[in-house]
Subunit: 226 residues, 2 copies
DNA sequence: CACGCCCTTCACGAGTTCTCCACAATCGGC
DNA sequence: GCCGATTGTGGAGAACTCGTGAAGGGCGTG
């Protein structure tokens, strides 16, 4: 059984989430503020964390940052629609996904399941990465879609690999640029779009309706979840 | 019977080592300085070399470097405890093992046996590497394309061998330089290109359209896949 | 000590890729 | 459905990468 740590200061929401997760078969830990969250995360080693960004005292982003300093536990952020910039910062700090309030508990459970599935799958990390119909042979730098091999440039390869390593996980343009050129490389974020376009042309059956390399409107891109 | 070249400037130690090795059943050659060591190594082709790093005149590391330029004879370094950085550099230059002074002659003999055993195993294990029409006889350092033998320099041989051992696998210039000179050897990455050019001239039917030693644009080189 | 071999380095040209732009298409909120 | 914001797209020039011939120097050999 998987354990989920829910970090939420509003009692009503906390209770609601807890009940739904219980019903869905998860063990639930609760924390009402950042300090408690960090402490519980360390002592109980939950399988994943659902984190409200609108916490009192210690900011949710700060919690993310501190968790990431020592752990790679999957994190789903809860954010209000207005906090768009926070969402982006959160993803850049290494959160795995976000849910916008108001949300349906059903959606929350679905996302938690998806993230956990991903985390399990990612652990086996070897020389070959598989995601959907895509197979990526890293040392040989070869990519196949179904049984057909496609030719990618070095940059395209790197970009696709980054996304396919964690299907479903959302990456901002800045993160993807970092993956391509190393951190703090100044350039036009939208050149990512151009590469995405070129990759889609090579791997998507119908590039106008992407099924593998998906756009997350207002945020960035992700590789399609299973 | 195996021949060991002992390079040691302190007479007392040299004699001690020689006697022990004799008793252990080795033929022993002796050199008191780097120049003599290089000369003897070339003319007598010993099965392995025991090398004191604290030599006068030509430095022990320099001797290692020069030996490795033309030979893969196993080398055991003798070092004083203080010369830790030298040990590391030595291993990176391709020494096989090191012994810290003071040492027991028994340990020396044991290590020599171990290194020789390893060397033999290596020879027996992967004597010949085949990839496409290329056959590489490692102990004899001979390369044939189809049925024709080609003459490669030591560097070219090493480079081709590295690539041919894993056809299809992509190596960056830095990786290939490491394979040639040991890690952290500063040099112009594009000298790899020059060697590739020279190898192609020798093994490719049409060097303008390589079929065996392929360029991976923006990354490095690879040996052709199946 | 001169010679030859080999490795490194450089500079130029040819080819490939990346970036960036402008405009069109799409998305999300109202 | 309308509107502003965001993303898709084709193309052009900049930037980068690679092949190549040749120069220079180190090292071993005669």
């Amino acid at each position: 059984m998987k354990t989920v740590l829910v970090v939420e200061d509003e009692l009503k929401i906390a209770r609601l989430v807890r009940d739904y997760l219980h019903q869905a078969g998860f063990a639930v830990l609760e924390a009402a503020d950042g300090a408690a969250a960090l402490s519980l995360a360390r002592s109980e080693q939950p399988d994943m964390i659902v984190l409200d960004l609108g916490l009192p005292e210690v900011d949710g982003l700060d919690v993310t940052r501190r968790l990431r300093a020592t752990s790679s536990v999957p994190i789903i952020m809860l954010t209000a629609r207005s906090e768009e910039s926070d969402r982006i910062v959160g993803l850049e700090l290494g959160a795995d996904d976000y849910i916008v309030k108001p949300f349906s508990p059903k959606e929350l459970v679905a996302r938690i399941r998806a993230v956990l599935r991903r985390a399990d799958a990612t652990l086996g990390g070897g020389e070959v990465v598989r995601a959907g119909p895509i197979t990526i042979d890293i040392p040989k730098m070869r990519v196949t879609v179904g049984s057909e091999e496609v030719e990618l440039t070095a940059t395209e390869f790197q970009l696709l690999l980054t996304l396919a390593r964690h299907p479903g996980r959302i990456y901002t343009r800045a993160q993807l640029l970092d993956a391509l050129h190393g951190v703090s490389f100044e350039s036009y974020e939208r050149s990512v779009d151009a590469h995405v376009k070129n990759i889609r042309r090579k791997i998507e059956p119908n590039p106008r309706r992407p099924e593998l390399l998906l756009t997350v409107y207002g945020v960035g891109y992700k590789f399609a979840d299973a």
